[in-house]
């Protein structure tokens, strides 16, 4: 090894290096006093430089500043996460609203029906046609309510004395006033308002009502009396499912 190469190796050497790989350097240092002197100076200077590097100013508040900055970042991230969570929940909330609407909708429809029944019981519409001829009244009704100008057999014994056209539950309907019982009237609605054909009792303060359907039309018996009186009237007239 010559002196130039030796000098180069001196700068590459480090105390934690593999000593064996630097053996040629140490062999040369043993033989060359000039290089050995230079290596000694270099080693001493290295130590001094290392010591000098350890002297740098303190920054006493730096740690707290960093920790505070990180806390701020975390708070911001948490706020973003929270906002994102709400966006994710939005479809779930929408589904819940739809389910709620589907569950509430029948009840709401029933309430609406009850309200209209109560209005009809309190203030029945003025008769637009006055006649005791059942066929004439039903023909007149058929022009407004679709279907044949007949009534189901359970209403065969009922007689009427007048009729009026109206809309019930947003559907065309005909109001028929009973002849022999002033407290009773019948509303024929152009749509089935109940899924089954059974009778549904509706009780209101101003009277009672019974609703049934034949699959095409709905029939609403209105009675200005209590439920017992209405039932007695229905039995008398043979109105039963």
């Amino acid at each position: 090894m010559n002196c130039d190469l030796c000098k180069s190796e001196m700068y590459a050497w480090r105390y934690d290096n593999d000593v064996a790989s630097f053996q040629p350097l140490f062999d040369h240092l043993d033989q060359c006093p000039e290089c050995a002197r230079l290596f000694g100076e270099l080693t001493a200077s290295d130590g001094r430089v290392e010591t000098t590097f350890q002297s740098f100013p303190e920054s006493p508040f730096l740690e707290n500043r960093i920790i505070a900055g990180l806390a701020h970042q975390r708070a911001q991230a948490a706020a973003h996460r929270s906002a994102r969570k709400w966006w994710v929940l939005l479809p779930v909330l929408a589904c819940l609203l739809i389910v709620l609407f589907l569950a509430v909708e029948p009840w709401w429809q029933q309430e609406r029906l009850n309200q209209q029944v109560a209005i009809l019981l309190r203030t029945p519409p003025a008769l637009q046609i006055v006649a005791t001829d059942r066929r004439e009244l039903l023909n007149w009704s058929a022009s407004f309510v679709a279907g044949a100008s007949t009534l189901p057999p359970e209403l065969d014994r009922v007689q009427f004395r007048g009729a009026a056209r109206l809309r019930f539950a947003d559907h065309p309907a005909v109001f028929l006033k009973m002849k022999n019982e002033g407290r009773a009237s019948l509303v024929v609605v152009d749509t089935p308002l109940t899924k089954d054909k059974g009778f549904h009792k509706i009780e209101e303060n101003s009277g009672s009502a019974s609703l049934w359907s034949d699959g095409k039309r709905s029939y609403l018996l209105l009675f200005n009396g209590n439920a017992q009186e209405m039932r007695a009237y229905m039995q008398k007239m043979g109105i039963s499912a």
């Binding site: 590459a12 590097f53 740098f56 100013p57 740690e63 500043r65 960093i66 900055g69």
Partner: protein
């Protein structure tokens, strides 16, 4: 890799002085070093999932500090030649170390970045060649050759400490 906030805070306590020291010798300014250290920890926190092995956390943090330093330079920041005001206030006195510190600042100021960065890691933190190579994202051989050259330049520069300090003081006045 999932790193808890608690672990990261522990790293801040453990390594903030190390990163500040490295940044200080790289930039030559306490204010820049503080800014750089903070930014490095914030960036490290944001990208903590990229750390694959907690055992290499120190090198990883130094690597991020190196990136932040690069970003700082790209934004047009120039290393102060020798921050004399800062130095003379802090180190002036009978302590012979003060002269060495000033001389070291002058010498580092004369080195270009590719020599200064590994040199600081080598002397200041006593990082192994492998750790330096990891932190600076350089091949091991490149680190060794740059360090060898940097040490040579540094020692040459430090041979004339009095002249260097004298020049710096005159410039500062």
């Amino acid at each position: 890799m999932q790193i808890s906030d608690q672990t990261f805070d522990e790293w801040v306590r453990q390594y903030h002085r190390l990163l500040f020291g490295i940044a200080y010798w790289w930039t030559g300014s306490r204010a820049d070093a503080e800014e750089l250290t903070q930014e490095a920890f914030y960036q490290a926190y944001r990208s903590r999932s990229s750390l694959r092995d907690v055992a290499t956390a120190k090198s990883w943090l130094v690597g991020i500090l190196r990136n932040c330093y690069g970003q700082m330079n790209r934004k047009g920041h120039v290393r102060a030649e020798v921050p004399l005001d800062e130095l003379t206030v802090e180190y002036e006195g009978p302590d012979p170390l003060a002269a060495d510190i000033l001389a070291l600042h002058c010498a580092l100021g004369r080195l270009d970045e590719r020599h200064r960065l590994p040199l600081v890691l080598f002397y200041f933190q006593d990082l192994s060649y492998r750790e330096i190579s990891l932190a600076l994202d350089l091949p091991l051989g490149t680190v060794m050759s740059r360090l060898s050259r940097a040490k040579c330049l540094l020692h040459d520069s430090l041979k004339l400490p009095d002249r260097a300090i004298g020049t710096a003081k005159v410039e500062g006045k």
